[in-house]
């Protein structure tokens, strides 16, 4: 059943049972609430009030999902989320590569100061900027525009992006770019044609971290936006609790629905995400 090395490592059957029970217990604790969520999203509102952990519905109520899809503005908010997050990732990558090159390769007096300043941003909590940014965006009349989300999303992902890119760039030998420079390549083409492809691993990590951090963000969104135009996916859930305050089954459906895109993406990119988080966390 198992391969030999596993058996060699754990010869004692009782300790093996204990290990497996620990793993399974935690797995159940972590996953059961989510199973419960999906289960209750498929029942009628009355069936929810029965005893027992899960409910076997008489009829699967997919109409809950239809309601969630339409009244939750699912498509609009999904589009906003995708657009804002993809833009944020691209801009963060671009700025990180530029700054990392300037800070770790080029010669200028303030390079350490500038890098230190941006890295200081890792210590500053997002929520401390909620109040003043609200005022600033209000004055500049960019409340309720894509900029009100894009700018802070970029700014708060930048420190980690810069940090990871810098430490990765330092491991790339300088000879490659020096050869290119001697051949008459400009600085910009050195950065974007020669260095950037070599940074692939770290750029994937930065993208994943930026995406994970910003995709689920809603505090800034709910503070700076006041019309549905640019609202992101978490708002489907937030709005629904008011709209269908007594129809719980539909609320379960909207929650499963809004969780789905990210869960599907996680299953598809499982390996990259695991690696990205591990790398980002260890170095961050």
């Amino acid at each position: 059943m198992n391969n030999d090395s596993v058996i060699n490592k754990r010869p004692n059957p009782t300790s093996r049972i204990i290990m497996w029970s620990i793993l399974i217990l935690f797995a159940v604790v972590q996953i059961f609430p989510l199973i419960w969520l999906v289960n209750f999203s498929l029942v009628s509102n009355n069936e929810m009030f029965t005893n027992g952990l899960l409910v076997w519905p008489e009829k699967l109520r997919f109409d809950n999902y239809v309601k969630a899809f339409i009244d939750g503005h699912f498509l609009l908010y999904l589009k906003n989320s995708v657009l804002i997050n993809v833009l944020a990732v691209i801009i963060v990558l671009f700025i990180s590569v530029c700054m990392a090159f300037a800070c770790s390769r080029m010669y200028w007096k303030l390079s350490k100061v500038v890098k230190g300043l941006i890295l200081l941003g890792m210590m500053i909590p997002i929520h401390a900027t909620l109040l003043p940014n609200y005022m600033i965006y209000d004055r500049l009349q960019i409340n309720d525009s894509i900029w009100a989300l894009l700018i802070p999303y970029i700014a708060f992902s930048l420190p980690q992006g810069l940090f990871l890119t810098c430490s990765f760039m330092e491991s790339i030998p300088r000879e490659i770019e020096e050869a290119a420079l001697i051949d008459g390549c400009g600085i910009y083409s050195v950065i974007f044609i020669i260095i950037t492809p070599l940074l692939k691993t770290s750029l994937v990590t930065v993208s994943i971290m930026t995406f994970l951090n910003n995709w689920n963000e809603f505090m800034m969104a709910s503070t700076y936006l006041n019309s549905p135009k640019w609202r992101t996916l978490p708002f489907s859930v937030l709005e629904f609790t008011g709209l269908y305050s007594s129809n719980y089954a539909v609320q379960f459906a909207v929650m499963s629905l809004t969780a789905a895109p990210m869960v599907i993406m996680y299953f598809m990119l499982n390996k990259h995400i695991t690696k990205g988080v591990a790398m980002g966390a260890v170095k961050g």
Binding site: N2, N3, V6, N8, K9, R10, N12, S15, M19, I22, L23, F26, A27, V29, Q30, P33, L34, F40, F49, G52, I95, C98, M99, A102, C103, Y107, L117, I118, M123, I124, P125, H127, A128, T129, L131, P132, N133, I151, I154, A155, F156, L158, L181, I187, Y188, W215, F218, T223, V237, L238, Y248, M255, T258, V263, Y266, I273, T274, A278, A281, V282
Partner: protein, 291 residues
């Protein structure tokens, strides 16, 4: 060569976009926050400079200290409950075969990719007294199933459970990567010498994981201090201010109590506490590493 690398114009063009974004979205707001912290601005209309009055009020504000205590309680929960469980799980997971390992890792991390908004409402439903999952579980074990965990007295524990549950996979994954980096020949040598799993965990895994544990502990304290989203949706600091956290409190003061100036003074204190604790923790661990 050297000339191309010190062209000021090129350097400026490379760093300016980043600096501008950062100054506009992070630095300027923090400075503005300090400015408003010295006023009695309500959010609308005129305001006066009142010097340090807000900060004196802050020192006497029991709710502020309560929210700081809650943050520390959460940090303790992370460090004493979540992290030991995460390390043990990661160590066991490391010993499994390929497929089982991937499966469990995936299951443990899954809650982390789901939006905090969904997690908060999900747990609100789990705690719901009339149809919640928790009460049904209690009934199965023969208890009385009408407990309202989010009520007075128990609310803070209910909030802690949610946060510890949600962050478990993330912590587990970091420890897991750390354990994967340990040289497997060490374990082989130990098992030849007759060490069982418990001994090799205590003598090999834990000591070698020290740097990872230190990073994770720092992260746990910072995460606990910064906590806002889950509490905002789950209890909004209630009942009363029992489950208040700093970020949520400053938000409430500014936008619900219309004390924008006072909210900013909490914000300034909040930033200072976060930066200070990061510096202190780094200092402590650095000294220990050198000693």
């Amino acid at each position: 060569m050297h000339k191309a690398y010190s062209n000021k114009l090129v350097i400026l063009s490379l760093v300016l976009p980043g600096i501008l974004t950062f100054v506009f979205a992070v630095l300027a707001p923090i400075c503005l926050s300090v400015y408003y912290a010295l006023t009695d601005f309500s959010g609308l209309g005129d305001y006066n400079f009142i010097g340090g009055t807000n900060f004196i009020e802050l020192i006497h504000d029991t709710n502020f200290w309560l929210s700081l205590r809650n943050s520390l309680l959460l940090a303790a929960g992370f460090i004493l409950i979540q992290h030991p469980l995460a390390i043990i799980t990661a160590a066991i997971l490391d010993r499994l075969g390929k497929h089982a390992e991937g499966f469990f890792r995936c299951v443990y991390f899954l809650p982390n990719v789901i939006s905090v908004a969904i997690i908060a409402y999900l747990w609100k439903f789990i705690y719901n007294p009339s149809f919640g999952l928790l009460n049904n579980v209690i009934e199965i074990f023969g208890g009385k199933g009408e407990v309202n965990m989010l009520g007075t007295g128990t609310a803070i524990w209910a909030v802690l459970v949610v946060l510890i549950w949600h962050g478990f996979g993330w912590g587990m994954l970091i420890y897991y990567t750390g354990i994967k980096n340990i040289d497997p020949t060490l374990y082989e040598a130990a098992s030849i010498d007759g060490a069982d799993n418990k001994i090799s965990f205590l003598r090999i895994t834990l000591p070698l994981m020290k740097p990872v544990i230190q990073v994770n502990v720092t992260l746990a304290v910072i995460t606990a201090l910064k906590q806002m989203e889950t509490v905002y949706l789950l209890t909004n600091g209630g009942p009363g201010n029992e489950t208040q956290f700093m970020a949520n409190y400053l938000y409430k003061q500014a936008f619900s109590s219309f004390k924008y100036g006072y909210g900013n003074s909490i914000s300034v204190a909040f930033v200072s506490i976060c930066i200070l604790s990061t510096i202190i923790l780094n200092r402590i661990f650095k000294e220990k590493a050198e000693a």
